[in-house]
């Protein structure tokens, strides 16, 4: 009655080990992919591998990278957060308004709290109300954008404390300081997902929530916290966005959710949850930014760039499916 192949039937041909290794190691596959993308871009455009362009690329990867980090956690538990772009918009407005009256620190705190609060709302309704994440965060996406217009009276905020520019313009260890921040965030997240109980719980929830429940893991707590984290990361992204552009617009962060989801998916995560890695997401962010940058260097019309990026997303997921397909599966 067993539908499972026995342990013995699983002998593997030796020549398939490289494919196996690539199939099993998302990180390895991603690093390989980055090298291929960088090599081909440097062949196409001599300007690509210059320091100033690379600094530019790093700078561009920060905002989407921050949002993609939160999105990775959400996708790992089998959810999705469509509200990240709008939340980056509204938390940016909160940052601008609060720092105008009470200084930059107060502005940052208010901005992070606003992100956490919106994330908490998402998480509570999804987890306790058992409403599909897609629906709840779609609603929050609309609410966030609307609040951004309401709070800002639909106009940009340009009078920001000058100190905010330091967040993006400085360097640390020879690299842009905002990029260093991104790497630190990712390193912390990697530690959390690999060595902390909470991180493994997220994987378990995404892989088999019922098994996680029976094993006594704190499913509701970690599910809610995941959405809170995603909200907070949107706020973090808003801060870095403001420090780079030095003006806050209520339309800020528009479309960010799609870039973030694309990066996570290119990074090898499964939208059904349980599978994915933070290193993969970082690689996904780089690949997206590299390709945009490359297309710009090649003077490809921005109208065509969407087609290029979209094709790459689909191709990446298709390859992922083919590699992770178990034998005998139709």
């Amino acid at each position: 009655m067993s539908a499972y192949p026995s342990d013995r039937q699983r002998g593997r041909a030796p020549h398939r080990t490289l494919i196996r290794l690539l199939a099993n190691q998302i990180e390895l596959r991603m690093i390989l992919l980055i090298i291929v993308v960088m090599a081909s871009l440097s062949l196409i455009s001599p300007y690509f591998l210059t320091v100033s362009n690379l600094f530019n690329v790093m700078d561009q990867s920060v905002v989407v990278g921050m949002v993609a980090l939160g999105q990775t956690l959400v996708i790992l538990i089998g959810g999705i957060d469509l509200s990240v772009g709008s939340l980056a918009g509204v938390t940016g407005i909160v940052l601008g308004l609060a720092s105008r009256g009470h200084g930059l620190i107060a502005g940052i705190v208010a901005c992070l709290l606003a992100g956490a609060f919106a994330g908490l709302l998402n998480g509570v309704v999804i987890t306790y109300g058992r409403v599909a994440a897609f629906v709840v965060t779609l609603g929050m996406m609309s609410i966030g954008r609307s609040m951004a217009y309401v709070l800002s009276n639909a106009s940009s905020i340009t009078e920001l404390p000058p100190a905010i520019a330091d967040i993006s313009s400085g360097t640390a260890a020879g690299l842009p300081v905002n990029f260093v921040c991104l790497i630190v965030f990712y390193a912390l997240c990697w530690w959390f997902l690999t060595y902390a109980k909470g991180g493994r719980t997220l994987y378990a929830i995404g892989s088999n929530i019922e098994a996680a429940r029976v094993a006594g893991l704190s499913i509701t707590l970690w599910s809610v916290l995941t959405y809170v984290a995603s909200g907070v990361m949107s706020a973090v992204a808003a801060i870095f966005l403001a420090s780079r552009v030095l003006s806050i617009d209520p339309i800020g962060g528009a479309g960010l959710e799609l870039d973030a989801i694309a990066a996570v998916v290119i990074g090898g995560a499964s939208l059904f949850g349980g599978r994915g890695s933070i290193v993969g997401t970082l690689a996904g962010v780089f690949i997206m930014v590299f390709i945009r940058n490359g297309l710009n260097l090649l003077n490809v019309s921005p109208y065509w760039q969407g087609t290029a990026i979209g094709s790459i997303i689909i191709a990446a997921v298709l390859v992922e499916r083919l590699l992770s397909r178990s034998p005998g599966q139709r």
Binding site: N24, R200, L217, S326
Partner: protein
């Protein structure tokens, strides 16, 4: 009618799926009326007239009976003409008779399991199938429902359809089929033997390949210590809709079976104890202390483990390595922010020996690469990491091959010998009797008896487990007897000097027979030993108690026990033989109607 039999995991279901096109064979041929056929999908099989009635019903619950029956038509070219389909479905349902109570427009989600089975059959008939494979159709049915199903199946056989009947219930095979093919570990060990030439014992030996007692390494060898403290006590537990009133206790080192039919509330009882469901009333006590779990974590921290019924749905985390799967419950119990995997590395190493799993497979990335039996052992071992005091196991050997089954039994015995209290839910009555020390039978969400395993056999267990809804008929007869003649009426079986009482009506202390529903005293300990000892059809006196016993039989002649009436006063003109005939008539007439 051809029976395809074999123990759990012998490959019966897989073979049926291949024949009906749900799975592809690697090698070998299938001949239909002498022609070789190749199916690339179930649609091909349907075209060649082969249909399967599956174990877990494959109906769409939100569609009507009509739509479900006609579902395979949606996969065929051409437009649907609902008017004609409706006529056809009416005709099909009429074959089942009015008592089936099926209406074409009823939603499948509102039907009982038995009715759904009939819809499945109608679906197979609608395709004009010449060959229908029934994959353990009676597993979820009550005895009366199965009997009705058999009548329908037999009628189909008479109309010249080829029927393959997959089962491991011996009594059904002998009652209903013409020939038997026995599978063992994926191979045919006896092909197309006429059923009549086999005895039950021979068939069991063919299925199992050895004596049954070897598999269960015999509960009797274990000393039955009785005066130990209960580790877990459950009193009047209620968690609607399935669990209504369940009481039992388990002692240290004991294996307790929770037997009953599907839907009797066994799994739900375990889940309530484990904190996955909230009880609305009743008490759970752990070593005498009240215990009200609010989550699985509470139960785990109190030393309880649960091996769930649905291994894939509730057990395995497919994206985790074997090691992390082994340590999943540890993670649930662990209090720190880190993983604490290293503190458990000794325990994990020891468990690998128990599981007979080599060290290098510990990091195997995909749990689904293992056989069902090994997966189950790993999930069981997940709890052993934590040294639980109580282990709850829900159908621990479902979908597990016979070899691994006996190693799971051995493992459970070893755990119990270390003092762990085990509660095993199983639908396999043979397994419950062979594995456990004591059995609590649940029926419709309430415990009906609590009996040592050595005192019970499969048939009596089935009578205890009969759902109240189908035992209702007997109950009505008992009640009408008491109303008419007074005294106490009961439904019992007598075997080897012991009375097993399934139901009793009337509480007149003057004529108390000395047993009640769910009890099983020795004959000499009852108040009516004369009546029970004497195999006579007459009125027998035990002091002031006068008793008439009536044997009742199913329509295929198997014994369904006896109905008894004990009275203090004999009404004038009383005729024992007439009463017996009336009781027999009442029970068999209503059987016809049911």
């Amino acid at each position: 009618m051809h029976a395809l039999v074999g123990a759990n995991g012998a490959g019966k279901s897989t073979l049926s799926r291949i024949i009906s096109g749900h799975m592809q064979p690697d090698r070998g041929r299938i001949l239909l009326e002498g022609q070789e056929i190749h199916h690339t999908g179930s649609r091909d099989a349907i075209r060649s007239g082969i249909a399967m009635v599956t174990q877990e019903t494959s109906l769409a619950p939100d569609l009507s009976v009509l739509e479900n029956i006609m579902l395979p038509r949606l996969g065929m070219p051409g437009a649907l003409r609902w008017g004609r389909l409706r006529e056809q479905v009416r005709g099909l349902l009429a074959e089942f008779g009015d008592e089936a109570g099926l209406h074409p427009d009823a939603l499948v989600r509102d039907l009982s399991i038995g009715q759904r089975q009939l819809v499945e059959i109608a679906k197979a008939l609608a395709l004009d199938s010449r060959i229908i494979i029934f994959d353990e159709p009676t597993a979820p049915l009550s005895p009366h429902e199965s009997e009705r199903l058999f009548d329908i199946i037999r009628r189909l056989a008479q109309r010249g359809r080829g029927l393959v009947f997959v089962s491991h219930r011996l009594e059904e095979i002998f009652a209903a089929t013409d020939r038997v093919t026995v599978l063992r570990e994926g191979k045919v060990v006896a092909g197309s033997v006429p059923t009549a030439t086999l005895t039950q014992g021979e068939l069991v030996r063919l299925m199992v390949g050895r004596e049954l007692s070897d598999i269960y390494s015999s509960a009797a060898t274990q000393p039955m210590t009785t005066h130990r403290t209960p580790v877990l006590t459950v009193r009047h537990l209620s968690c609607p809709p399935r669990v209504r009133d369940v009481s039992f206790d388990v002692q240290e080192g004991e294996i307790l079976g929770l037997a009953g039919l599907v839907g009797a509330g066994r799994s739900e009882t375990l889940e309530t104890i484990f904190g996955l469901r909230r009880a609305i009333s009743g008490e759970i006590e752990l070593r005498g202390k009240p215990f009200r779990p609010r989550s699985a974590r509470d139960a785990i921290r109190a030393g309880i483990g649960l091996v769930p019924e649905d291994r894939r749905g509730q057990g395995i985390v497919p994206d985790f390595s074997v090691r992390e799967n082994l340590l999943l419950a540890h993670l649930g119990q662990h209090a720190g922010t880190g993983l604490g995997y290293n503190e458990r590395s000794d325990a994990v190493r020891q468990l690998l020996d128990v599981l007979e799993l080599p060290q290098h497979r510990l990091l195997d990335a995909n749990m689904l690469n293992f056989s069902g039996g090994m997966q189950q052992k790993i999930i069981l071992a997940r709890w052993l990491v934590l040294d639980p005091r109580i282990l709850l196991l829900d159908e621990p050997t479902r979908g597990v091959d016979i070899g691994t089954r006996s190693s799971i039994y051995a493992l459970l015995r070893r755990i119990a010998a270390q003092g762990v209290a085990c509660v095993v839910v199983s639908s396999d009555f043979e397994e419950v009797i062979g594995l456990t020390d004591r059995i609590v039978v649940l029926s419709d969400g309430a415990d009906v008896t609590d009996i040592p395993s050595r005192l019970v056999d499969i048939e009596k267990l089935a009578m205890f487990a009969a759902p109240r809804s189908s035992a209702e008929r007997t109950h009505t007869v008992l009640a009408s007897l008491v109303q008419e003649l007074g005294g106490v009426a009961y439904w019992i079986a007598v075997e080897q000097g012991r009375v097993y009482c399934f139901d009793r009506v009337g509480d007149d202390p003057l004529v108390d027979p000395g047993f009640a529903g769910g009890s099983f005293p020795m004959i000499e300990d009852t108040a009516i030993p004369n009546a029970l000892m004497r195999e006579t059809d007459d009125l027998v006196s035990d002091g002031a108690r006068r008793t008439v016993l009536t044997r009742i039989r199913g329509r295929r002649g198997h014994s369904l026990g006896q109905v008894g009436l004990t009275m203090a006063r004999i009404p004038p003109g009383f005729d024992a033989t007439a009463l017996q005939r009336r009781i027999q008539a009442m029970l068999s007439v209503s059987a016809e109607a049911a």
